[in-house]
Amino acid sequence: MSIEAAAPRRLTPAAYFICLKGICWREGLRFLHQRERFISALVRPLVWLFIFAAGFRQVLGVSIIPPYDTYVLYDVYITPGLMAMIQLFNGMQSSLSMVYDREMGNMRVLLLSPFPRSFLLFGKLIAGTLVSVLQVYAYLVIAWFWDIQPPPLGYLTVLPALILVGLMLGALGMLLSSLIKQLENFSGIMNFVIFPMFFASSALYPLWRVQEGSPALYYVCQINPFTHAVELIRFALYGQMNWLAFAVTAGCAFVFMSAAILAYDPSRGLMALRGAPGAGA
């Protein structure tokens, strides 16, 4: 038997598509198999909506601010924030699953693919984003029965915003996953990423109210990309465009994604510096 030098196999656009489809398909299957994850992803925002918002409805008045053209109830106000929260949790959870994957070796299987590594990581991001978008729509269906009824067209116009926000938060999670050394419990990410991002944003209260209370916090909220993600969703849900929010969200998505791809690049990344599980042997 003779072996000649391998001619590089060609990766056609069709092959790229098959690869992307496969990554999304697996992510979807895994999600279906983790029913608890879906239920808790749905229950979390509903608890905020049914209990927290109901309680605060009497306390907090929301004046007319764009994109709303009338007084809105507090639960209507926090809905975009809760939608972004679903995506925030999903992004961090899939980042955690990447740490877990890497320990289990699944990440190694992904990185053995002959496709460019940036494409593989991007595919993983798209897959996670699609899962988060499904969760958001499931939430919107239930919220509709709770009398949170944005204009019908809003359900369509919010889709691109959800995709962009999903990519940004997923990329942030991916970047964090490359920095996390071991499978740690979720509380570290909760305390240091999710809670600060969520509370120091416009998700729960309009920023003008924050400014009245604490100008310093107002500036923190302003530079928090999560605020802009929430506002992008809020405006898109009412068929409007918030260009500043779009620019910040898109810019952050790009920066986080590039950093995550660099972090997973074997020649520049942190993995080589740090060594992988079992590799010290």
Binding site: I3, A5, G22, R26, V109, F115, M271
Partner: protein
């Protein structure tokens, strides 16, 4: 006739984690169609070598070529020729055996129809044709290993590398896996790099590469190594070869 190109070539490969040298100037070839055993104790640098060959780590020093393709310059083309079985389990436990195969096929740009054919063909070859629809979680350790080996062959690689594939298996399953892999190479006509610390997995016709504390200690056919050490079996030869390094190091 052109000279056959080695399935795997390592040239002066060194690697260190911080100050610790894990591999020191390692060079060897895996000849086409051969079964090459990478023999070393735990900590010899076998896993580091695997991380370099599979491109998990960047090459710090030296060159690695797969089927003549430079791993740093043509990573995609080189990886397409490579099948890998890692020491740790890398299957999705919640998915079925066939779903794991489809995912792997997609990662190599192979469509569903071809993946389907190849999956049933390979599962038959490893004696698990009736388990395609079962969840991986329900398989035994030995069966999972066979599934992983079959999966590694899905995209028709020409080099298969296995990192201590028999770790954690009982004697029966170990023998099965060895027999299976040897049979598969003959059938699919490919080359194998098999890492282990167990000398009883070596057969007389194999090539052996002895790695100790990050250094290449010996390389050659089993008969060459026995002749070199003047010993009757590989176990004593291995012990002698690594002991020699110790004394040299101390001198």
């Amino acid at each position: 006739m052109s000279e056959a190109i080695p399935a795997l070539e390592l040239r002066h490969v060194s690697h260190h984690y911080g100050a610790r040298q894990a591999l020191d100037d390692v060079s060897f070839d895996v000849a086409p169609g051969s079964f090459c055993v990478l023999l070393g104790l735990n900590g010899a640098g076998k896993s580091t070598l695997f991380s370099l060959i599979t491109r998990l780590f960047a090459l710090q020093k030296g060159e690695i070529r797969l089927l003549g393709l430079d791993l740093t310059r043509h990573p995609g083309a080189a990886l397409a020729e490579l099948g890998v079985v890692f020491q740790s389990r890398t299957l999705d436990l919640d998915l079925s055996v066939a779903q794991n195969f489809y995912y792997h096929a997609a990662l190599h740009g192979i469509g569903r129809k071809e993946a389907d054919e190849r999956t049933s063909e390979l599962l038959k070859a490893v004696g698990l044709a009736d388990r395609a629809k079962d969840k991986v979680r329900n398989l035994s350790g030995g069966q999972m290993r066979r599934v992983e080996i079959a999966r590694a062959l899905l995209h028709r690689p020409r080099l298969l590398v296995l990192d201590e594939p028999t770790v954690g298996l009982d004697i029966g399953a170990r023998a099965d896996i060895l027999l299976l892999v040897r049979g598969l190479i003959a059938r699919e006509g490919m080359s194998v790099l098999w890492a282990t610390h167990l000398t009883d997995e070596i057969e007389p016709g194999d090539s052996v590469v002895v790695l100790h504390k990050g250094k290449l200690r010996a390389e050659g056919k089993v008969t060459d190594l026995l002749a070199k050490t003047g010993l009757a079996d590989m176990r004593s030869a291995f012990v002698a070869l690594i002991a020699e390094t110790e004394t040299r190091g101390a001198a």
